[in-house]
């Protein structure tokens, strides 16, 4: 196994996902997702973000400056800003940026700034060693050259890096709807774990992990919208398909709300501590 090349494996999974894609909606996809995603991340007063903070309690404090890559609707910006000195959010989607502003205002949070850019376009030479913590949440799957992007995260940190990754479809529920809509097509993998951990370890890093659990809540209409947008990446969503999604969501909904249990891995490491690379 020591010879296994995790970078190549990552690229392969990335490419396989691309092969079955019907269309690439680009950044606009996230503009459209801002509404449902924001609702989901705000569940139980930003429970997801707060669970991540709990895992990182030993490495952040009121003096910390944090860089948040792919900040979404403020998933981390809001809860982190209350605990640290400042959060800088990198977020390419205008729709998401507006949500961050709105959610921050709602919570009276002011100690943040937004860089409305794609992470790959951020000039690292200007932010080298600038942050105590560089974090990203369920974002890495977007990058084909994941090791390159992780190294850029490390470059901009003077302390720690953290990636929060999904741990796959752990209750099997998502599979059911996928096959209803897509037939025999194999569900593409978005799972970043434990591959990212193996990659970091093989590169001589010493990463820590906390497995966290959280709840994600959306209104029935937001959940239908979320699933519709997702499937539009893989096929044309006809009215028949939309009905399928609606029926699925309604059978799982409790009244007006659709709730899901989530599980994620919080992985963090000290960027100064490096051992030898394996291979």
């Amino acid at each position: 196994m020591q010879q296994l090349n995790w970078e190549n494996l990552w690229e392969k999974i990335y490419e396989e996902r691309g092969k079955i894609e019907y269309r690439d909606p680009g950044i606009e996809y996230w503009d459209k997702r801002a509404e449902d995603f924001s609702e989901s991340r705000k569940t139980n007063d930003y429970e997801y973000g707060r669970e991540v903070i709990k895992a990182l309690h030993e490495i952040i404090n009121s003096n910390s400056e944090v860089l948040d890559i792919g900040a979404g609707p403020g998933t981390f910006v809001i809860p982190f800003a209350k605990k640290v000195k400042k959060v800088t959010a990198v977020e390419p989607s205008k729709g998401m940026c507006e949500k961050i502003g709105k959610n921050a205002e709602e919570e009276g949070v002011r100690n943040f700034e937004i860089i409305n850019k794609v992470w790959q376009e951020v000039d690292i030479s200007k932010i080298t060693g600038k942050y105590d913590l560089v974090i990203c949440s369920i974002v890495l799957w977007i990058f084909k050259d994941v090791w390159e992007q992780l190294k850029r995260m490390e470059q901009s940190s003077r302390g720690y890096c953290c990636v929060v990754t999904g741990t796959g479809d752990w209750n099997g529920e998502e599979q059911k709807l996928w096959h209803k809509v897509m037939g025999d097509v194999k569900k593409p993998s978005y799972s970043e774990y434990p591959l990212i951990y193996n990659l970091l370890y093989s590169k001589g890093r010493f990463p820590n992990v906390d497995i966290i659990y959280y709840t994600s809540e959306r209104s029935v209409e937001n959940e239908i919208m979320h699933k519709k947008l997702f499937f539009e990446k893989y096929r044309e969503v006809t009215s028949e398909i939309e009905q399928m999604i609606r029926d699925y969501v309604l059978t799982k909904a409790e009244g007006e709300k659709y709730r899901e249990k989530g599980r994620a891995a919080v992985i963090w490491w000290n960027v100064q501590e490096k051992g030898e690379e394996i291979q």
Partner: protein, 269 residues
Amino acid sequence: MQDLVNWEKEWEEKTIQISKVSDTIYWNKRAKDYTNYIKTSDYNHGRKIRAIFENANILKPEFEVLDIAAGPGSVSIPFAEVVKKVTAIEPAKEMVENLLGNAEEKGIKNIEIINKKWEEVNDAEWEKKFDLVICSQASWQFPDIGEQLMRMNRVSRGYCSVVNGIKDDDEFAKIYKKLEINPESLDRFIYLFNILYQRNMLANVRMFEVVMRRSVDSALSMWELLLSKYREPTDKDKETIKKHVFSNSKGGLYQRKSKMAVMWWKAVD
């Protein structure tokens, strides 16, 4: 994706060999030098493991802890200081003697010792008996590691934990080379990590630094016994070992820093 590697099979193949030479007879001989290491280091790694659990807020005074392959009490002693009871499983009689002595020295009375191999324990009788089941620096004994992790899981009503060192440092590689031996090079930590994932026991991980401190005599004895797994040490071998130990010692103490990882997970049904 991670299914591309059969972690358990690779582990088994590489472990069968080492578990043959590192048997109970070997550990009876190692009891003295190993105890010197643990005591001279003031239970360094056991204390750090305890601190990690305390920090994660999972250790409670009413806990009953099972320590698998307890040795001279590296983990049992620091834990017994803060929990209700520790049950220590240890097959080597000499190690048991040292554990008894160490506990007495510290005035610790809440350790029960079971002089058996973990594999010989009837896990059905112990179903959900412990709040924390811990196996530190001992997983190399089990070729069927997946099965043993499941048995640990079975006897826990709270948490399970495995602790392992990470990659040998350069200093060790150098002396192995000089002695022309090639000890097992399995990086057990990453195997345990992936096996736990594949068995659907997702573990938390903390990396920490430990300092091994032992007397020069204890270091000489350790290296000679380690070499005797491969061949009877010659006079030339003894000279090589002496050189290495003295050049790495200060004030009569042989010191070495290394990294370890503690992994823990909530017992699953």
